[in-house]
Assembly symmetry: C4
Homo-oligomer: 213 residues x 4
């Protein structure tokens, strides 16, 4: 196996392609958790509206998870934007473990929506968000320290710190939101969605400055 | 977080790739709503045909949703054709919210096919079509006003208006079709399919003039 | 809407990308039809083997549909190989209708495997194969007559006829195989698989002559 | 059909794209096997934790299969990295049969997790791993002997042997791990995961030497 060193990993385009595949499926599978009410009890329009409104907590966790996956996809693909073209087996496996926690999101979402008042379900969901953030941090630091970023030295350093800061601040806020479940579960979930929406809306509040493009 | 401005968004190819992933899954998940009749009561060929013909309303909503998603995909990818290569976090999130309403199509389809005679189910389905149109309008106007379209000034202006007009006319027709549910639900669904087929067949009625390619 | 002519369709890469998305999901969804036997009656290794062997007809239709989709994907992507880069809304919709019948394959497979001894189920399955062939024929003829093939005039003509012949011969054979269901359903399915395997193995029997690459 | 030789196969990018599609779906479908416990018996946090811990064997097989598919994807895309751009119908079908055994992984995983103490279930799972390895070996040898690798002659030879050795060593280890089920099923599964993790961690233990990039 001393020829192993010659075996290079997949091109970064394929790492991106498998990511888009997994995210695409995970984003869409979320909706399978929302079961259409089929009941012999539904006779009138207002029966149907009542049955539909009973699904609203499911839509809440659906929206939560859509934001979770949207931020995860967005964060990962933003990082890859800075990468130079490269074949790398380590990056490959960091990404695959990242995708492992992407594929568990439909489960932890369904688990949360079925047991929304339980601290354990919120804790499990938070753990999933945390692991996604952790892997994104590892991905970024690996790329920085192994010179996989195609940015000039000065810009690289400030970008490196900016991205790290951003992930750590986000994760700190998510951890605080999760802890709010000891007061009230809906407060905890609501705060998490609020933080996620903040990160989304912040994008629209700023002028685009594409420093590198 | 003042380094944030350096953090550019995903390349437009990845925004297209995640879109194709989500659309691919959503288009195929639709079929999961059509359950194969498995019954001890099926003994003869004509029993099976009877059981199959009971599925025809499901096929109707299936075809409806296939057209809905087909037009949504087609409309979105036509818009992207005009975009210049660009990294943009705002475009990213406009697209993700667009995909949010793509992923709800399998649900609103199943909801409609289970309660096809209810105005509420038709209204919900219409809402989904409307939100897809709205986001497509936002996408297009954002791209126009932020100079993301790679077209010369004169052609751009007329194309811009043409695309807007087209979306608004289509949405007006869909709204009228939805309102027909107050007369008869099948009339409403039939009219929606008719409008969608019109937009498809119109493509084949014209000569190709690829003004920009 | 007189600006409509300026609205060009999606690039051919995106038409290919949505195709790969739909095929990828359809190929994998097939397996959801094979349910794992979970029973309190399974106590010994031989109980489990008996339960597994009861699944063998499911594996048969699974393999049949894998070949159906494999040939459909392979045939379509081979056609696209010859296409010149082009934006085309008609090609877009021909492809989407093709994909419509790709997404019905998991249904017609499950329908067949649940009612494998019924002529109606075999007829429905055959109809699906036929529609896939028909759309592939339309796709090819549209491309030829609208000068979308990037091949010199002489090679184009012989390639055009060769591809048409091939689809028509294949479809004739599938129709004969389907008709065999009037003798015996397993004979009909077996013959279909045999024909499909012939088209696969034929590929390996020949030397590669890449006339155009 | 003598024009057949002119019909070239899909470009290698599309073979990669359909692979990424199938892998993306298969990786994500695995999670559908882990059903959320929904029970009227769950009243307290500790009830929920108990119900969750009953799922741990499911998570074990989930992780096993994630590694199986991750290694399969990684191995295949590493091979394709060395391929020259080429249209090839044979490569197409080798890949499709490879994907056939990718799509069966969600089934053999669910089969194993439902019957984890049975030798037959472990044997079936091993067969799936074996077939993936076999097809990867065929893929590699086909590419080597038909001059599809874009590497200079000397490097090619040592790389060719290195890759073959690697697959054969891995498969030998998996076969031994499978045989351990005659002692204890968990020992067998644990050893398989251990071997897979070894191949993943080995990547991180080495310095990157990208001999060819």
């Amino acid at each position: 196996m001393n020829n192993r060193n010659d075996i290079i990993g997949p091109r970064i385009q394929r790492i991106e392609a498998i990511s888009d595949g997994v995210f695409g499926v995970a984003l869409t599978l979320l909706v399978l958790d929302i079961k259409v009410p089929v009941s012999e009890m539904i006779h009138t329009e207002s029966d149907l509206m009542t049955a539909f409104s009973a699904l609203l907590p499911k839509f809440l966790t659906y929206f939560l998870s859509f934001l979770t996956l949207g931020l995860a996809w967005s964060g990962q693909s933003t990082q890859f934007t800075h990468y130079i073209q490269h074949n790398d087996l380590k990056l490959n496996w960091i990404t695959l473990f990242y995708l492992l926690f992407v594929t568990t999101v439909p489960f932890s979402t369904a688990f949360l929506s079925a047991h929304i008042t339980f601290k354990f379900a919120i804790g499990l969901y938070w753990l999933n968000i945390f692991l996604l953030g952790l892997l994104r941090l590892i991905n970024w630091n690996y790329a920085y320290h192994h010179h996989l970023l195609g940015i000039d030295e000065k810009g690289k350093n400030s970008l490196y710190k900016g991205m790290n800061q951003r992930i750590i601040i986000a994760q700190t806020l998510y951890a605080i939101a999760a802890l709010l479940c000891f007061i009230n579960p809906y407060l905890s979930i609501g705060t998490t969605i609020f933080i996620q929406l903040y990160f989304v809306l912040e994008v629209f509040a700023k002028k685009n400055k594409n420093a590198l493009s």
